[in-house]
Symmetry: C2
Amino acid sequence: VAAGIAKGPTLTPLDEATCRRLMATAAIGRVGLSIDALPVVLPVGFVVDGDRVLFRTGEGLKLRQALEGAVVCFQVDDVDPIRHTGWSVLVTGHARALRDPDDLARVRRLPLRPWAPVDGDHHVAITIELVSGRGLGDVA
Amino acid sequence: VAAGIAKGPTLTPLDEATCRRLMATAAIGRVGLSIDALPVVLPVGFVVDGDRVLFRTGEGLKLRQALEGAVVCFQVDDVDPIRHTGWSVLVTGHARALRDPDDLARVRRLPLRPWAPVDGDHHVAITIELVSGRGLGDVA
């Protein structure tokens, strides 16, 4: 490489297919949203179902209301802080509680587990409307 | 315990001292903010310096502007999706670029590394104004 001093692996944008493939390898992601105009990030267990990211929450009414119809983000990464390798994918889209009985019945058969036990069984879908990602080194 | 059917470990709130101690054990956290009114979550290498979370970014002007003076959140977790154990800590506070030369000189001696190589050397501090956390099982 003639570009000059070696600086190690470079942070490069990932195409959408790669983002979707990498996302599917993770079990935990983070939902980013606003509650009372303050940014909040919550870890969730999730599953990708077509054009939706699905997760469960049993948490408070305030969270449910903040999610309903809002544009939220969903972020997944796999970062090695020692080797400085890894990737991060960010999805943006509308969140909505699942209510259709047929849809819920199908979703309940997916391998979707919250990371924490929850009292409720509130399923939320984030429509995958925008996807972007960045990777360091070989993320294939 | 007389409370009924055993449901495994319970998600419990963590006190602030525990939150701060757990945060210091992690190398990577996620900053949650809004850019052009859309929620964004970014992984960052960080260090806690007193009442500030410090991280570096070399990324675009848009991100720098979105961070400057904004109320953002910073989230750290250590989650085991198989064993359903772990914790998550959320800090909320104002973000601001470090500009004071003495402060910058001191911060540059801290073990603060970005997870990805960055072109710039833009140090950002989030003031720890609100701290909350939740844990599953024994997080001591």
